[in-house]
Subunit: 484 residues, 3 copies
Amino acid sequence: MVSSEMVKPLLASNGGDSASRGPLSCGDTIGILGSGDFSRSLATRLLSSGFKVVVGSRNPKRSAGLFPADAEVTGQTEAARRADLIFVAIFRDHYSTLKGLAEVLARKILVDVSNNTEINVSRESNAEYLATIFPQCTVVKAFNVVSAWALQSGPADGNKQVLICSDSVDARNRVASLARSMGFIPMDMGALCSAREVENVPLHLLPLWKVPCGGAGLLFLFFYLYNFVRVVLHPYLTEGKNQFYKMPVELMNITLPCVAYVLLSLVYLPGVLAAAYQLRNGTKYRRFPDWLDRWMIHRKQIGLVSFFCAALHALYSLCLPMRRSARYQLLNDAFKQVKQNVTSSWVEEEVWRMEIYVSLGIIALGILSLLAVSSLPSVGNALNWREFNFIQSQLGLSALVISTLHTLTFGWRRAFDPNRYKFYLPPTFTLTLVLPIIIILTRCALLLPCLRTKLTRIRRGWEKKTYGKFSDLSDTSTECSSNV
Amino acid sequence: MVSSEMVKPLLASNGGDSASRGPLSCGDTIGILGSGDFSRSLATRLLSSGFKVVVGSRNPKRSAGLFPADAEVTGQTEAARRADLIFVAIFRDHYSTLKGLAEVLARKILVDVSNNTEINVSRESNAEYLATIFPQCTVVKAFNVVSAWALQSGPADGNKQVLICSDSVDARNRVASLARSMGFIPMDMGALCSAREVENVPLHLLPLWKVPCGGAGLLFLFFYLYNFVRVVLHPYLTEGKNQFYKMPVELMNITLPCVAYVLLSLVYLPGVLAAAYQLRNGTKYRRFPDWLDRWMIHRKQIGLVSFFCAALHALYSLCLPMRRSARYQLLNDAFKQVKQNVTSSWVEEEVWRMEIYVSLGIIALGILSLLAVSSLPSVGNALNWREFNFIQSQLGLSALVISTLHTLTFGWRRAFDPNRYKFYLPPTFTLTLVLPIIIILTRCALLLPCLRTKLTRIRRGWEKKTYGKFSDLSDTSTECSSNV
Amino acid sequence: MVSSEMVKPLLASNGGDSASRGPLSCGDTIGILGSGDFSRSLATRLLSSGFKVVVGSRNPKRSAGLFPADAEVTGQTEAARRADLIFVAIFRDHYSTLKGLAEVLARKILVDVSNNTEINVSRESNAEYLATIFPQCTVVKAFNVVSAWALQSGPADGNKQVLICSDSVDARNRVASLARSMGFIPMDMGALCSAREVENVPLHLLPLWKVPCGGAGLLFLFFYLYNFVRVVLHPYLTEGKNQFYKMPVELMNITLPCVAYVLLSLVYLPGVLAAAYQLRNGTKYRRFPDWLDRWMIHRKQIGLVSFFCAALHALYSLCLPMRRSARYQLLNDAFKQVKQNVTSSWVEEEVWRMEIYVSLGIIALGILSLLAVSSLPSVGNALNWREFNFIQSQLGLSALVISTLHTLTFGWRRAFDPNRYKFYLPPTFTLTLVLPIIIILTRCALLLPCLRTKLTRIRRGWEKKTYGKFSDLSDTSTECSSNV
């Protein structure tokens, strides 16, 4: 970067509009209006990035003690006069109190960092409102997605993206280069009319998790009720047996794996649907239906919720022998065995069934935990595409297959035992098997040479119709959006 | 960046002091004195960032084989002559051996990358000592916080911050831009007198973890002894029963949840205290007492230690039925039941108590594990402030509430059973309930409209006293420091 | 950065070769040939980084709908004409179809972003092939290691490194600065002949994991068979007992800890060997043998596989009492106890043995889980070298010691019980103890003052021979490569 002394004179003669001045350099003075926590953290970070900082406060004396020693704390007018780029770190309600500074601020860049407490609380965004108050200033919306905490804790921590929008391209670039110097990564969001969108970003609450969590909740409710009817209500109504004590642990333990298993199959269903869609259309250049696109975007979250349910299921299972009820039943069974004088109660088939499904369950959980770890941003970032695909697609499918075997050995021959059909309701595990088995069969079908070759060609750009003698590159991405 | 050929001549005429020359560009030559591991890693990284590298070694022939082929390995004088910016990658003890290079090095930038093995081992920092040896050079302290490993493994890995200090602002900026080109994020630490502080940074040993781990250790000791007296010593002294075998597993299993539970409440106590403090003072512009500030900074670590103890408690619990002792007791109980001819030993109340507290315990652990995952830097960075607050504050508090229910159902009516007061000591769980219940009640009180409105206004800058007709922005940060 | 308008005229007169023009600035126009997924993601990211984008498509009308509104989609010739730097996002097979653009593209920079589907599929790299088609262009290989997904999801996510190679240093620097503006970290890979290597990078499949996973697999096979012979085959052949039901769970449960324990000792063995090697040679300037170097690089992966096996072992152990077989055995034992009229089957020694080894096992797993968490990139990055060393070396060794105690208490006196030598095979645990005990003893020996002093001096650069009156800095790195 060329030192500012040389460049500025050249540019100042260029019209005098501050927005078109040269880039910011270390050593330049940055102004901040306001003395709250955000202002303090901003000052600290600017100083440690090598800038000079002037803070404009209503009450400089009182505020000075709150700021780092290197920051100059002065009155608002003085601070506005001293810098060309000024952060406005004041609540929207108090923007109007700055009107007196209009003349001093004219032709300078004002950076609006404010956030709202609710989405779309006002008609116009805070930044646009600021722009109407100071028509002679260039207003830039930026840094609102960064928390005071992230500013203060330095570049090693905190969210690194800074969304920037402004009607002036030059002002945008200046603030972008400032953000870069501070260790953030600027994202250009276009004109100031995007400010509302930018202001809503920090108010989003885990948007990608809502549908997966909601869906998991509904599935949980359905399976819990279904199991309640079969396991608790049926023996109570038909035999008068009180098994309500099973509600807190045993019902949870047979409901959670159903949810986990169905969710896991929902992770791999869209890939199968996408392949079918591409095969039918004979091209990859037709957009997937919106619902399919949205589904594919949520796969990671669905998979993680599935893993969470599977892990809870494991915990519940492991708790089973610890419970008083298990102890009492065992003692009573021992008593019965002695009274009936049965030397051995060993049932070889039951033993094998359980040994196998327990072992398969552990292996499936082990694989799912690898998938979950590779979903952590810092782990996923260290993988190249092929590795990511191997883990998410190959390992994930094998987790699905092993879970299916786990379910099948758990079920054993019960699906064909009429006594298991309480109130004509089939055993729960039979319900959950439908989707995964469809997916596994379709996946096997896609391994057939005829289909596989066609799909590969389609994904490399080949098209069924006449147009397209040659095709564009889409290398990793097709796979990424359809295989994983 | 303007190519260096154009800029340098302009600047060279500017006085000739290298520290004020233009910024470094790809293709510039960087010197390194020393041929150890750090030197090798530094050379590798500089080369891959597009710079030319000259290494000055005492024994160029032997050293050449250790360096990448693109690095030029030559004598020390030659290397010093060829570059304007020279890394000194030599132990402090050997700085004096470089004295012969003083003339060649004059007016160049020396970057001191050395570390000490102990905190404050010498009177002056290594960098300041280097500056006294070469008064004609500009010494910059930098890159010491980066390990040879982080240098070598490329920018995707390793600590990314580089702390820089020097008495010359220009030299600081040059090294900062060099660090940036190499994929690091420079942090300006001011004048060279900060070098001591910078040299101590890599010697810190988990400073934020000392108090939480120490506190957890003390809590563990206290509760272990308390439980030992109640569970082992009391039956031994009063009934002569030998229950010392309970020390490795059962005592651990009842001690760990106490530690976890008290620590979890210590995470949420400072938030309550901060709110009370702000309400009493009627302003947020008064600093919290130092101990409260320090406590708030440690909350994440306290929470993670709490989760670790809770997870160990879960493992210990799950191991209970696996043990020989549990097996022998069961067999003996079965024997007793048969001898006493009791058909059923079922106790409905005991069954319900345990089913409920086991289920609540699993749910609490599940929520705590979500909190722990969101504490991972890469996960936390991907959250905006509202999401972080939701997870840490809402989910965290619900974990505290569910843990409290877990403890209460575990305790059931034992708090009121005189037989449980061994040596007049109340059951352990009653001790742990004090803090969490205070916190939960205070939290509920803060939901009352009168208090909530006042607190919200205070956090938006309102003040009780006369000064302050309007107030500064503190958006996310107030919440961040007081709610979470 | 100086705004492009000023710099370009200066440079254009410099020869006109686009590769030597000034750096790219926000607002510059970037061309993209191709309209696949990668092209779309690239356009999105370039736009959000503040550049203008012109996409050249065979069928602009159809493609336009697939691109963001701000991207201009036009014909290939037009796009090639409008930009100086053009991404070629087309499959290698179709490069030849671009021949018609040769004249328009002359003297421009072509960025080849293509990947292959197999390693070394063609004789020359895609980028070199492109260079032969367009001899008048400057071809740069870059961005192929970045997936379309990483491009689209913004700088907070995805792999951040971009490997760049080209025969023109200027073109390399221009693409490097472009990558930096987009939030990536450029890595200079030298001349275009490195393109093959760069193109192979995204095809690697977890290279560091192959040996550790393969080794773990072999160890698993060996120990599983060994245990099968001892636990299942021996009672079947000698006593006719059918214990094949133990294969899915019990054999897994005694095999996994053997694998985990041996792998854990393999993590700490190379450190001991390296110390011995340095002591014998009396210098640290002699390279370790290649196998030792490679072993040391794989330690993190070996440790994580070890932790995975240990965690599975814990799960299997916890499942033991849940199984039908455990239940049946317990019932039959109760029956037997009643028939034999044994009031108490309590064996104090067995109780103590199991309580202790269970507790030690849990503690060892807890420590290993801390090591595993600190291996996550984002956690490890936040640690300084001393902290990393403390966790990996001190905590890791204590995990090894506690695992050894766990194994010893598990084994108890069985190593000396002739009945335990089935087919003359010693109990499995005795096999696994060999390596760890050697390591622990050697480690203790290295704590002896005479050896420790010598080793410390060697690691600070001291040498046995005559040469080397003073020595170079290698601070953190030596320790890093030999202690950890």
